[in-house]
């Protein structure tokens, strides 16, 4: 198949490094310019297999020299569409690395290519050979490409001329990917990298929820699972939607059950209070419920002071971590603040009452306009009293909950029909928390958790009160 080329083509050459000692030319890279781009076009716009070079060819390049390079591929086919451009483009990296003596690094306008002296000795002397081999691989490996045409540019002025257009294309693509949401995909990704110290933790990564450590987004999960489906990142079929707003899916629940060894069997990805996502210990930010104002505060690793509840990050992190569902605390990655589904079911940003200033500044642009000035920082509130005063002064939407709360309490007092703990209103209970203690019960609000396993208990009513 590859007899026409003076080099071998095989995946075994992936990872082959062309060292400076053995390098004939360097193309693009940190010290030069370049880019790679795949564009989808109509069938009649291109001629299959055609190669055009603008600028000097390999044979005229001096040994040890460095040149810019742009590689533009135009593809066409019945199934070829604009959304495929990025996926196809990424394969240029793989395919060029299959070529013995060619090292291809990075992507987009950061590409960095080296061609070895050995390859030149064996008869490589033109970019046409590399382009033809790459195009052949594109068509073999991605059969939906019916026609492909390549243009390589090695002339600096010409590369620069095309670069702006390429950057605009990348930006347009990024806009589209940022617009991807949970409902647009059938598969989420799980990550168990942290199970070494939190054995029951399963991180669920969705388009609208980044991993707790902030490092793995849905696309990273997809890339890793594709390379090694048995690795620490793997696909989770969404299955049936149980709660669209809270983010509960049958596929996630099934997996939660098996990977946590039955520790828990339900996860609501976007819920703070009900079957919340577990937290490993790697989270960038921990959210904490403040019962006194019925709001949620967030504190990150870099904040060294104490939050209005009197606790520093480290103490709350200790309570949150370990791969358990802890109602009242939630670990998240910073990017989750930017998600449109950010604790949506609990009121989203309207439920947020406090965060350290540097953290607030980091996500400032993503906080809804109406609420941005109403979220307190350590400069506005250092304890519960000053927090309350701030929220009242700024007319934080949380005040509406306080009114509801008072009404609810009035109802509750008159109710005689056995309300179980599960039915208690949110402000006294952190709704739905099985057997969690009412907030503020006991000293310092550090909380107590009672887990009843396999218990068959019938209770008409439980009343838990602070001893007067």
């Amino acid at each position: 198949m590859a007899d026409e080329f003076p080099f071998e083509i095989s995946p075994m050459f992936e990872g082959e490094r062309v060292r400076k000692d053995g390098m004939y030319v360097e193309l693009a890279g940190p010290k030069s310019k370049g880019f790679e781009l795949v564009k989808s076009v109509e069938m009649d716009e291109i001629e299959d297999g055609k190669f055009t070079l603008i600028g000097p060819d390999l044979s005229t390049m001096e040994e040890g020299s460095r040149h810019p390079i742009a590689m533009i591929y135009r593809i066409a086919g019945e199934l070829v569409e604009q959304d495929l451009e990025a996926i196809v483009e990424r394969r240029n990296h793989d395919f060029q690395n299959y070529i013995q003596g060619v090292m291809h690094l990075n992507q987009r306008y950061d590409i960095w290519i080296r061609i070895s002296k050995d390859a030149m000795k064996k008869g490589l002397n033109s970019f046409e050979q590399i382009a033809k081999a790459t195009m052949m691989l594109f068509k073999n490996e991605l059969p939906f490409i019916e026609k492909i045409e390549a243009t390589y540019i090695t002339d600096l002025a010409e590369v620069e001329k095309e670069l702006d257009g390429a950057i605009a294309t990348y930006q347009a693509r990024d806009e589209r990917t940022r617009d991807l949401h949970d409902e647009d995909v059938d598969v989420f990704y799980g990550c168990t990298l942290c199970q070494s110290f939190a054995p029951t933790n399963v991180c669920v990564v969705t388009p609208d929820r980044i991993s707790l450590c902030g490092a793995i987004n849905w696309f990273d999960g997809r890339a890793a699972a594709k390379v090694d489906p048995e690795g620490p990142q793997f696909a989770i079929e969404k299955g049936e939607i149980i709660d669209a707003v809270g983010g509960e899916y049958s596929g996630v629940n099934d997996l939660a059950k098996s990977l946590s060894n039955g520790e828990y069997d339900r996860i609501k990805i976007h819920s703070f209070f009900e079957f919340p996502h577990t937290s490993c210990g790697c989270f960038e930010v921990v959210g904490f419920y403040i019962p006194e104002v019925d709001g949620i505060g967030w504190v990150d690793r870099d904040f060294t002071g104490t939050a209005p509840n009197g606790l520093p990050f480290s103490t709350m992190a200790g309570q949150t971590g370990g791969g358990k569902q802890i109602v009242g605390f939630l670990g998240i990655g910073i990017n989750y603040f930017r998600s449109p589904k950010f604790i949506e079911v609990d009121g989203g940003w309207n439920r947020v009452v406090w965060m350290p200033k540097h953290l607030k500044d980091k996500v400032l642009a993503d906080i809804p306009e109406g609420i941005v000035d109403k979220v307190a920082t350590e400069e506005d509130a250092s304890d519960l009293e000053s927090l309350k005063a701030f929220l009242i002064e700024k007319k934080h939407p949380i005040l509406e909950r306080w009114v509801e709360e008072e009404e609810d309490e009035a109802i509750e007092e008159t109710a005689t029909a056995a309300p179980t703990i599960m039915q208690m209103p949110a402000q006294t209970m952190m709704a739905g928390a099985p057997m969690a203690m009412p907030a503020g019960f006991g000293a310092g609000g550090s909380g107590v958790k009672i887990i009843l396993k396999n218990a068959k208990v019938s209770i008409d009513r439980i009343i838990i009160k602070k001893i007067e």
């Binding site: 060292r19 990424r90 990024d174």
Partner: protein, 250 residues
């Protein structure tokens, strides 16, 4: 197959000098070497005669700091790989990689997981990898470098130095690090302590594969701070390293 050799020992025993001289020997024999400076407190670049401004640690921080600004669907591994290649210092006969700054307080699980894959691929490009590493073997516990063929503990004449060797052997067991052989090189040896060293090594069941005598040429260079890489062939240390390399079948 790439041979991976890690050189460790407590501070001041001269492990960096031994590492540099081994690299010198190997490149003279036309072996392509990857030198890794994995001790935050060491100075392998200076000892070899090259300059390192930045290292893997900085690139790892870059990946951590930039992750939310990168295009969402970009392949982070290829970016990280390219960044590692950027900090790789290319010298005639060998490349040098500095690990540099240690981890901060955040979560490095994912970054290190990517790094493991990148290092696995990179290492395969060389005949020999020489790692100059701190006695705590941090990078082995993180499994950034997964498999080590030979772990060489450099010790001075003191009993304490040899004890370090014993502790490192225990540590390797505890870390479940994949290390095939553990050897000891005694450095800065004098006629007075030569016999005691081999006796202590025997006592501790450590395999002593060489004893480098005090080398005046090294002492002079250490004083001025000039590299050891171009020591003459007849230096005492250079000759003993040659013997050791042969014993290691390098």
């Amino acid at each position: 197959m790439t041979r991976v050799i890690a050189i460790t020992g407590k501070g001041g025993t001269g492990k960096t000098a031994i590492a540099a001289l081994l690299i010198r020997y190997l490149t003279k024999g036309n072996k392509v070497v990857l030198a890794i400076d994995a001790d935050p407190d060491t100075n392998l670049p200076e000892t070899l005669g090259c300059e390192a401004e930045t290292g893997i640690g900085d690139m790892r921080e870059f990946m951590l700091n930039e992750r939310d600004n990168l295009p969402p669907d970009i392949n982070k591994e290829t970016i990280f790989e390219s960044k590692i290649y950027e900090v790789l210092i290319e010298m005639p006969g060998y490349d040098l990689l500095v690990m540099g700054r240690p981890e901060g307080s955040g979560c490095y699980c994912y970054a290190n997981n990517l790094l493991r894959g990148i290092m696995d691929r990179l290492v395969k490009n060389y005949d020999v990898v020489i790692i100059d590493t701190a006695a705590g073997l941090e990078h082995f516990s993180r499994k950034i470098i997964r498999d080590v063929d030979d772990l060489i503990v450099v010790t001075d004449g003191s009993r304490r130095g040899l004890r370090t060797g014993e502790r490192i052997r225990e540590l390797v067991g505890e870390l479940e690090a994949n290390v095939k052989n553990i050897y000891v090189i005694a450095n800065k040896v004098t006629d007075a302590n030569k016999d005691t060293i081999s006796e202590t090594a025997r006592e501790l069941k450590l395999e002593l594969i060489g004893a480098v005598e005090v080398d005046e040429m090294i002492q002079e260079r250490d004083l001025v701070g000039t590299p050891l890489f171009d020591l003459p062939d007849d230096s005492v240390a250079v000759r003993e390293i040659e013997n050791i390399a042969k014993k290691l079948k390098l």
